[in-house]
């Protein structure tokens, strides 16, 4: 809001022009406001009604045959044992592991890529392009490609066979990653305490299954397609760091790693927040890939809340349940965003702790680095 107040507005000396401007302002804004209102804001209220109704998709959701059922649909998902609840619990578990693996790995990979491509090297433009290209392709095309690469007789398993490894059947393999690892260690049966306890219709043992092998392919795919996008965010942040900071650090005897850890990371904290937040928002919404690739199979291990919400509504006519899932998912995303903000809130002591401040820039900044930054612009 502050930003608005400070910016220069058109100023006119003639009297009466204010009224003119108000009319024009709303006239310019009206198409956007009407469409946002009609297709985003109004429908949210409609969906809120559907989530507390027993509408089955017949006729209008506002017809007289549709009844208010209170929190029935939410209870079906959260507290009443049954198929709705166990599907929802399973979807939450699957998506949770997806988020847990994708967000840290893609953040690390994209930061690593950005660090590699900030340097002024020959052909660096080519490498930037190569890393970014997957980001512009459609999720449908990428999923089709991965279905081919990861089919049981596909390229990946062929590659693995060269090093003597028999690859799993990927998209068809419902085994949880952690269960597989435990199996390797000789643990095949859950202890009774884990087998009997249930949460959201899923046993504790199954909560601890980890992402299924099938889900792991989606995890790899997400990292492959989004690292390039996030690389650009990090790249912009890295190029904003003044070279003198690094020079000062070098004078203090900092190694490459300590420079990265104590100079780069604190200085790009806002970019890290952006990447983690966008990552969380995106990964909790995974839908396209599931729709194209597996539709939740094998054994529901790639089911996600977004896909379940769609499936419950459009295929099982449980519109109330589907809408309720969408609202719970919204709540989850908001919650995670708030948590990230609290966790990465820039602590004031960062500048104070910095031992090698940018106060005395010694010598001129490295000419080649400046050239590379200029080349990007």
């Amino acid at each position: 809001m502050n930003a608005i107040a400070r910016r220069p507005l058109l100023r006119f000396r003639e009297p009466g022009i204010r009224g003119h401007q108000a009319a024009a302002g709303w006239f310019f804004l009206s198409p956007v406001m009407v469409i946002l209102g009609l297709f985003l804001i109004v429908p949210i209220f409609m969906a809120a009604w559907v989530s507390v109704s027993d509408w089955t998709g017949n006729g209008s959701p506002f017809g007289s045959h549709v009844h208010f059922v209170g929190l029935h649909n939410y209870r079906q998902l959260l507290s009443v044992p049954g198929l709705d609840q166990s599907n929802f619990g399973t979807a939450l578990r699957n998506n949770f592991y997806y988020v847990l693996l994708v967000v840290p790995i893609q953040t690390a990979v994209s930061l690593f890529l950005a660090v590699l491509v900030t340097r002024a090297l020959k052909f660096i433009g080519f490498f930037r392009t190569a890393f970014y290209f997957p980001s512009v392709t459609s999720s449908v095309a990428i999923t089709v490609l991965f279905l081919f690469l990861f089919n049981p007789q596909g390229a990946i398993n062929k590659l693995l066979s060269y090093v003597g490894v028999t690859g799993p059947s990927w998209f068809y393999d419902p085994r949880g990653l952690f269960h597989v690892i435990l199996g390797q260690l000789g643990v095949h049966q859950p202890p009774a305490s884990l087998a009997n306890g249930m949460f959201l219709g899923v046993s504790y043992w199954d909560w601890l299954a980890g992402p299924s092998i099938a889900m792991c392919v989606f995890i790899i795919m997400a990292i492959f397609t989004t690292s390039g996008t996030f690389m650009l965010i990090f790249l912009a942040a890295l190029q904003g760091i003044d070279d003198s900071v690094y020079e000062a650090a070098a004078l203090d005897g900092a190694t490459e790693w300590t420079k990265f850890r104590y100079v780069t990371v604190p200085m790009i904290r806002p970019a890290i927040f952006t990447v983690v937040t966008l990552g969380l928002i995106g990964t909790w919404q995974v839908f396209d890939q599931i729709y194209v690739g597996t539709k939740g199979t094998p054994a529901n291990t790639t089911l996600t809340p977004a896909f379940l919400s769609f499936n419950a509504s459009f295929n099982n006519t449980e519109w109330g349940v589907g809408a309720a899932i969408a609202f719970i998912l919204f709540g989850i995303i908001v919650l995670f965003t708030i948590i990230t903000r609290l966790a990465t809130r820039s602590p004031d002591h960062v500048p104070r702790r910095r031992r090698f401040g940018p106060t005395q820039p010694l010598g001129t900044p490295d000419a080649s680095r400046v050239a590379s930054a200029g080349g990007m612009r």
């Binding site: 910016r7 507005l9 956007v32 406001m33 297709f39 190569a130 729709y291």
Partner: protein
């Protein structure tokens, strides 16, 4: 050392696409038997031939083109109009309007699938081009980008035009928009890419096969319907073809994308 990493990673990022292109020129048995082979033997364009001579594929291309072009041009125009109003004009409710735009930006798209279906049906435009296109006309992020851009250019030119008696729309159209070319190109790329690659909205907005877009059609190919089964060359050929328009756009505007996306990330 750095080059070693770079080359290795570039191979990992590029090889999948090379495999996709190569495989699309293979025969079905060859693709299945030798998924890694980088030389199709025998090489064939059968997959492409089948796609272009099928009933469906040309329809998908046509629908994707119609939707993408309509959405892109209207969106760029409406977003910049609104961005201009929010950046420059003084009127009551401006702050509230901007707050609405920001709030809408924060709502995750997948959460809106069911709501969008409900309103599209209620308005009687389900399973029509209108239902597929109109809801995509506006995107809050685009308004935001344009507003930021207009705030970054000097206001004096517009003021002198105003003194010469030009109307506000006239100023917007013939003075402001030409100055905003860089931002318009950015928005054009984002909108084109976004609507060309859109899938979920079309799933909830339409059902007829005659309204399938490339994303919806290829998604159906992928799940083995339409008798595609294990015909990987066919599926990959379709994927390669649907990637070409965004790839061309990407290579033309590479510099700009690499700089602009950092500020305006696609979802």
């Amino acid at each position: 050392m750095t080059y070693g990493f770079l080359v290795l990673l570039a191979v990992v990022f590029i090889v999948p696409f090379v495999i996709a292109i190569v495989t699309s020129f293979k025969t079905d048995p060859n693709a299945t038997a030798n998924p890694l082979g980088l030389r199709p033997s025998p090489a064939t364009t059968a997959a492409y031939h089948d796609l272009f001579h099928s009933q469906d594929f040309p329809t998908w291309v046509k629908n994707s083109a119609i939707v993408t072009l309509c959405v892109t041009f209207v969106r760029v125009f409406l977003d910049s109009l609104a961005g201009y109003a929010l950046a420059r004009l003084r009127f009551r409710g401006r702050g509230a309007a901007f707050a609405t735009v920001v709030a809408v930006m924060a709502v995750p798209g997948v959460v809106l699938l069911i709501p969008k279906f409900l309103i599209i049906r209620q308005l009687g435009i389900y399973d029509t081009y209108y239902g597929m296109i109109i809801p995509l006309f506006v995107d809050a992020a685009g308004v935001f980008i344009m507003k930021n851009f207009f705030e970054s250019i000097p206001v004096s030119v517009e003021e002198s035009a105003r003194i010469d008696g030009a109307s506000l729309f006239r100023i917007f159209w013939s003075i402001v928009l030409p100055m905003a070319r860089p931002a318009l190109v950015t928005l054009f790329i984002l909108s084109f890419q976004g609507s060309w690659n859109e899938l979920s909205h079309f799933i909830v907005a339409s059902q007829s096969t005659s309204l399938f877009t490339l994303t919806k059609g290829v998604a159906q190919l992928a799940s083995g319907e339409l008798g595609a089964g294990n015909r990987y060359p066919l599926k990959l050929a379709a994927s390669v073809l649907m990637t070409i328009p965004v790839a061309i756009l990407f290579f033309i505007f590479q510099r700009r994308i690499m700089n602009a996306s950092a500020g305006a990330v696609k979802e």
